[in-house]
Subunit: 420 residues, 4 copies
C-alpha cells in the first residue's frame, strides 16, 4: 500500500494547509498563472506523473497544474525533504501523493512506481529517477508519454546522455536551464538562505570576519554578495580563470584554498565538486573556524578526512553544529554534517524565488501540452519567451512597470538587427 491513504490525520493536513497558505502569499506569479489556467485550461484531460520535493512551494505549483485541468500523481524526489503535513494537505485536497519523510530506498522507488500507475501523458522529474524508471521498468507506459520536464542539472545531464544514445523516447524540456532559475533562484535564493543557515546554527557575527567562499558560479556569487552585505571580508576560490577574474574585478580577494585556509573564520563550499576542503586545508585553519556547505551534495567538505584528523568529536555543541577537536587542540566547527546548510539549518529558498522557478515549469508544461505533437524525442531548452513571461508577471505582482518600445524604436532595432 502506498502512503497516499496512510495519513488520515486531519490536524496534520491542517498544519500543511497553513504552510501552503503561507507559501502562497509569496508566490504571486503562480497565483496569476493559476487564475489564467483556471480560465484557459491548457492541461485539460492530461494525466501527469510528477516526482518532486514534496514541500509547500511544490504544493502551490502542482495546484496550478490541477486548476489548469491536469490530473496528477505525485511522488517525492527525495525522502529527506518531504513535509508530511504538506503531503497530508494535498491528499485532503484529493490529490494522489506517494511520499513520507525518511522512507527507505525501496519505498522511495515503490512511490515512483505508484505515481507512474496513473499512466501519464506528461511527466515532471527532479533528478531523472522517474524518467529512468519509466525507460527501464515501465516501458509498457512509454507509448502514452508525450513529453516531460526536468528540474535539475543532474537530471538534464542524464537525459542528454540518453538522447545521445537514442534511448530517450519523448521530448523533455530542461526547465533547469532557464535564466529565471539560474539568475534568481541560484543567486538570490541560495545567497540569502545559506547565510541564514549559518547564523541560525551559530549566531556568529559576520561583520569583520573573513568568509572564504569556494566557487563563484551563480550560487557562489549570491553567497559572496550576501557575505559582503553582512560586512564580511570575502575571499573567493575558483578553478575557472574567467570566473576568478570576475570575482577579482568585483573587489573580492581571490586565492587558492591553501592560501585561504589560514585566513578564514567561515568557509562555505558551493562548487558542485568534491573534496574542495581537505585534510591539507583543515590542518592550516584557525581555532574556531566554521565549515559549511551550500553545494548540492555533502561531499564538498571532506568530512571523513576531518573525522580522521580529529581526536574528539563533540556533536551538537549548538544545533546543527559539531565540533572537531584537532590534536593541537584547535577546534573546527562543521555545520549540518556538511549537508546543504540552507536546507538543514534554515528553511531553504524563500517561496518568492521558488515562485519563479515553478512558474517557468508550469508554463513549460503548458507549452509542452501544445507543442508535444510537433516535437521529436530529445532535450529542449525552455523557450525564451517563458522566461520573459515569468519576469513580466513577477514585476507586475510587485507593482513595477517597465518601458515598451515605441514603433520608431522597434523599427530601429529591427533594421539594426537585420543590418540595413
Amino acid at each position: 500500500m502506498g502512503d497516499n491513504v496512510n495519513n488520515p490525520d486531519a490536524s496534520l493536513a491542517e498544519a500543511g494547509e497553513r504552510r501552503i497558505e503561507w507559501a502562497l502569499r509569496s508566490m504571486p506569479v503562480l497565483r496569476a498563472l493559476g487564475a489564467r489556467f483556471a480560465e484557459t485550461r491548457p492541461l485539460d484531460g492530461l494525466r501527469i506523473a510528477a516526482c518532486l520535493h514534496v514541500t509547500a512551494e511544490t504544493a502551490v505549483a502542482v495546484g496550478v497544474l490541477r486548476v489548469g485541468g491536469a490530473e496528477l500523481a505525485l511522488a517525492a524526489s527525495n525522502p529527506l525533504s518531504t513535509q508530511n503535513d504538506v503531503a497530508a494537505a494535498l491528499r485532503s485536497y484529493g490529490m494522489e501523493v506517494h511520499a513520507r519523510a525518511g522512507v527507505d530506498r525501496d519505498t522511495y522507488y515503490r512511490h515512483i512506481h505508484q505515481a507512474l500507475d496513473i499512466a501519464p501523458d506528461i511527466v515532471l522529474d527532479d533528478g531523472c529517477d522517474l524518467v529512468n524508471t519509466l525507460h527501464t521498468e515501465r516501458t509498457e507506459l512509454l507509448k502514452g508519454v508525450t513529453g516531460g520536464c526536468e528540474e535539475t542539472t543532474t537530471g538534464v545531464i542524464r537525459l542528454r546522455q540518453m538522447a545521445a544514445e537514442h534511448a530517450l523516447r519523448f521530448p523533455v524540456v530542461a526547465v533547469n536551464d532557464t535564466r529565471t532559475k539560474r539568475m534568481f533562484d541560484n543567486r538570490y535564493g541560495t545567497g540569502q538562505s545559506t547565510l541564514d543557515g549559518v547564523i541560525r546554527a551559530t549566531n556568529t557575527l559576520l561583520a569583520g570576519r573573513t568568509v572564504v567562499i569556494a566557487g563563484f558560479g551563480y550560487c557562489g556569487r549570491g553567497v559572496a554578495e550576501r557575505a559582503r552585505g553582512h560586512g564580511a571580508r570575502v575571499v573567493v576560490t575558483e578553478i575557472d580563470p574567467v570566473k576568478a577574474l570576475d570575482a577579482s574585478l568585483q573587489g573580492y580577494e581571490v586565492r587558492t584554498m591553501a592560501e585561504a585556509a589560514p585566513l578564514g573564520d567561515l568557509f562555505i563550499t558551493v562548487t558542485g565538486n568534491r573534496d574542495v576542503i581537505r585534510a591539507e586545508h583543515f590542518i592550516e585553519m584557525k581555532d574556531g573556524a566554521i565549515l559549511a556547505n551550500a553545494g548540492h551534495f555533502d561531499i564538498e567538505i571532506d568530512v571523513r578526512a576531518l573525522e580522521s584528523l580529529a581526536e574528539e568529536v563533540h556533536l551538537g555543541v549548538r544545533p546543527y553544529t559539531d565540533e572537531y577537536l584537532l590534536p593541537d587542540s584547535r577546534r573546527l566547527l562543521l555545520l549540518a554534517e556538511g549537508r546543504l546548510v540552507n536546507l538543514t539549518a534554515a528553511e531553504g529558498h524563500p517561496a518568492a524565488v521558488m515562485d519563479m522557478s515553478f512558474s517557468a515549469q508550469a508554463l513549460a508544461v503548458a507549452w509542452l501540452a501544445e507543442e508535444r505533437v510537433r516535437l521529436s524525442p530529445g532535450v529542449y531548452d525552455v523557450p525564451g519567451e517563458i522566461d520573459a513571461e515569468v519576469a513580466r508577471l513577477k514585476l507586475a505582482a510587485t507593482g513595477v512597470s517597465i518601458d515598451t518600445l515605441t514603433p520608431v524604436q522597434a523599427d530601429y532595432l529591427r533594421s539594426w538587427r537585420f543590418g540595413s
Copy 2:
C-alpha cells in the same frame, strides 16, 4: 526564599554550561581580561551586587569579575531575558544568582533585594532599578557602596536626574556611553540580529523588497546597512534633519512615514520613540506588509491601533508572526507582538559584540575600584583609554596589527596640537 538554591537540576546546569562555553568562544577580549585579572586581581576583596540580563554572555562577563577577586551576587534586570540554564550553571560554579525566567514583579524586586544583601562595595546596574532600590529602600547599605556602573541609556538618564537633585550618593560610570558600545554593539549587533529575526520569523526574501527603516541612529544605520546588503531597496524615515541628510547622502531614500507607508514590504522601527507607525500608516500599507520593531520598548508600532483596525487577528500564522486582517481584506503581519524582534525571534546580539560592551564594563569596574576613593558622587564617562584598550584587545584577538607613531610623528602631532 530566593531562586538561588531552587534549581538543583544538574542537566539544566550542564545545558547552561554548554551555552556559556559557546559564548566564551566568541569573546576573546573577555578571555584576555580574564587572564589578566587572574594575575593582577584588581577586584580583590570587593563585594559586587549586579542587576543584569542573566544570559550566557553575562555569565562570561561576571566570571571575569570573579577571577579578578570579586565576590558577586547577581539578580536579573529583566525577567523575560533570563536563561534558566545559565542561572543554574552559574550557581553550580558557586555564584549567588537570583533569577528565574518569567517571574512576577514582586519576585523581581525580591531578587534585587536578595542581591543587595551581599552589602556591596560596588554595584552594576542595567536600567537603574538596583541603584534606585538602594537609594530608597536599602539606605542602610549606602555607606558601604563606593561606586557603580550603569549599562543603559535609560539608566544613565535616571542617574543624571538623581545627580542633578543631589540624591546620588556615590560615583557611577556610564558604561553605556562608550564608543565601543555605540559604534559596535548598536550598529553591527543590532543590524545583523534584527534581520536575522525577521528572516527566521518569515523566511521572506529581502532582495528586491522595499524595507522602510524608521530611525537612523547607530542602530538604524546598522539595520539599513544590512538590509541593503541583502539586496533590498531601503527607505529611511527620521525626525532629525542632520541624520536624514546623512542617510540621503549615503544613497538611501528619505521619506516621511506617510509617504513610505504604501511603499514598504517590510517596516522596522528603531527610533526610541513611541507610535512611530500608527493607524494612519497601517491603512495605507500593501497587502502582506511585515511590521517589526528593533527599538528597546514595544511601543514603536502602535499595536493597539492595529488591533482596533483589524477585523480578525490570526495569531501564529508563522512562529512569532501574527496576521491582522483589515476590513478591505489586506493582511498586515506583525512580528514578535511588536517587541524587540532580534531578541524574540532570533537570539539577540552575537556574543562577539557583547564581548566588547562587557569588556568595557569589566575595565570600568577595575578603574572604579582604583579611583573610587578619589571620586565624588556623580555620573562619570568611561575614560577614553578604556575604549582604546578594548579595541586593542579585540584587534589582537583577531590577529590584526595596526601602526604606532614614530617619535617624529608623535612630536609632530604634539607640536601641531599645541599650536607651535
Copy 3:
C-alpha cells in the same frame, strides 16, 4: 598620397611614444603575449590589413602582432578617435599607418584602400568597413585573404548577413562576443569611465543624487554599480523584463522613463536603442537635470527634440556641457552633445580593460593563422580556451593564484558530466 609619410614631426612622435609607454604599463597580458609571440612567431610572414581606432592601446596591440612576425598596414576605423601623436609614433617605428584625426569621408575610405594595398593574408576590422570595401571594390584581393577578425557587435551583424547571403568569402572570428569583452570591458570599463566623464564635465556630487540609468545590459550594470558606489540612489529603466527583474533583485528601483523623468538629477543612456529620452521626458525633468549618453551612437538622447523645446541654448557653460533653457526657465544640461560621454569628456576605457579585449584579439589572430586552412567561409566564435587564457594571464600579472583540480576532482567532474 596617404597620411603615412605626412607627419615627419619628431616631437609629435615622441608624445605618442610616451602615451604608448603609459598604456603599456597597464597592459600586462599583451606584454606577456608579446614575449611569447617574439619567441614562437605565430604570424611569421603574414600580411595583415587592420582598420581599428588609432589609439595608444591599439598601438600596443598591433605591436604584439608585429613581434609575432606579421607585417601590418593600419587604417583608422573612426576619424574622430585617431590620436595623431600615436599615429606618428607608430610610423616612427616603421609601421604603415593611414590615419589622421578629423578627416572627411573620402579620405577615410582612401585610407582603407591604402591599408588594403598591402594585399593582406588576414584582415582586422572594427565595424566591417574594411571587409565591406574588400568584398565590393577590391575583389581582386579576395583570393589572398584567408581569414579575419571583427571587434564590434555592429560588424558581426553585418558579417552574419553576408554569410547568410553566401557573400562572405573567408572565415571571420567574432572577437566581440568573448566573455572577456562583455564581462570586463563593458562592465568595468564603461562603468568607471562613464561616471568619470560626468564628473570631469560637471564636478557634480553624486552622493545622495538620483541617477537614472536607461538600459541594464553589461554596460548599464557597470554604470549602475559605479553610481551606487558613489552613494547615488539608482533608478533603472529597461524594456526586457528579465533584465528589469534582475535590476530589481539587486536592489535598484525599476521604473519607466516617464516615471523616472521627474526624479532624476542625472540621466545616463546605455541601451543601444534610439530616442530613449524624448520630448515627453524632457518636459517633466527637474531644473538642472544632467543628460549623458554612454551608448555607442549619439541617438539615445533625442537632442533634436531638446533643441526644439529650448528657448535658448548656452553652449559650453562648462567644458562639454551645454545648457538648454526651457520656456518655463528650467535648465537641462546636455553633456558631450549626447555623444559617448566617457570618450568625449574623459579618456575612454582604461588601458587595463583594453588589455583583455586586445589580448583576445591577438590570440584569435594566432588561432586563425593556424586554423584558417581548415575553416570554410563564415562567422566563428572565439574558442572558449582563448577567454580562459586571457583571464589566466591577467590573474598571473596581478599575482593571483587559483586552484587546479586534483585528479580525484577531475575524475568526479568527468564522471558527473558524462552521467555515470
Copy 4:
C-alpha cells in the same frame, strides 16, 4: 597698491562670473539663505574682513553675507588656491578683493592688512592668519572687533591656545567643528574628489585593484567608501585602535603600512600626520604603485625620501604624475607632488558640499551678529540648531520631506529624557 584695482580685465571677470554662476546652481542652501538674508538683513551695517580661499564657492558665500547687509573686504587665505577670474568678477560686483594667484609671502600678508583696513566688526578666518595679524600688528583695530569665525581645524587649535593664554580678545565660533562639515564635507566631498583626482591623473582602472588608505577619520572613511564603490579591494592603516576596529567591522582589511606596502596598487594618505609612507615602505612596493595624498599638508608621503631612493625621476609622464625609478628598476608614481590630489589634479570639493559648510558659516555669522554682545572672548561651538537648519534647508532643496514629532511623541521624549 593692492590687487583690488589691478585687474580691469572684463573678459576675466566674465569667466569668473560664469564660474560663480555654475557653483550657484549646486548651492541651493546658500541661495535660500540669500533670499532670507535679503529680507531680514541680519548683518546690516556690519563691516567684515574675511581671509578665505578665493574660489567660486566662496564668492557665492560672501555674496550671501553682502545681501544680508554686510560690507566686506576679502583677502586670500592661500595664494595657490586663488581663482583670478573669480576675484575679477567679485571686484566687478563692487567688492573689495585683495588676492592674486601665486603671490609671494610679503604680498600675501599685505593683502591681509589691506582687508583689515576696513576696520572690521566681525572677522572670518581660514587658518588664523588674519586673527593673528590682528592681535599682533593691528591691535589698534581690536577694540572694534566684536566676533569672528574660523573655518579650519588648524585655526581652531591656534585660537584655543590663544584663549588658554588669555590672549584672545573677542569671541570666535569654531565653524570647522560642525557635524555638517565633518559628516558631509569631509566624508562625501573628499571621498569623491580624491578618487576623481587619481583617475584624471592616471586613467587607471580601480576595479580589482588594491587601494591602501592611510587614516580612517571622516575623510579616510569617505575615500574608502568610494574606493570600494569602484570595485577595489581596500586596505586601511590606522594608529587609533577604535577607528581600526571600526574599519575592520565594516569589512575593510586593516594592516600596518609595513604589511600593506607590498600589497597596494594605489596608496592614499589622509591622516593629518607626517611621513606616513616612508623609505622603508617605498622599497617594498610593487612596480607601478601609485602614491597620492588627500591630507591637508604635503608631508604625509615622505617625498624627500623617495627622491633619495630614486635613480631617476621622470616628471610629467602623465599630467600631475611623476615617475620615480628605483635602482632595481621598479617605478613608483607620485601624483601632484604629494599635494592634495583632489585640489591639484581635480577640482576640489563639489559645490554641493561647500554649500553646506558655507551655509553653516553664514548662519554662524548671523548668530554672532546677534549674540556677540552677550559673549565674552573665547572659542565657541556652533549652536546645534545651525547644523539642523542647514540640513533642513538642504533636504528641502532636494525635495525631501521628513517626519515631525506628534504632540504625544514630543511628550514621550520629554518625559523619557527627564526620567518620569
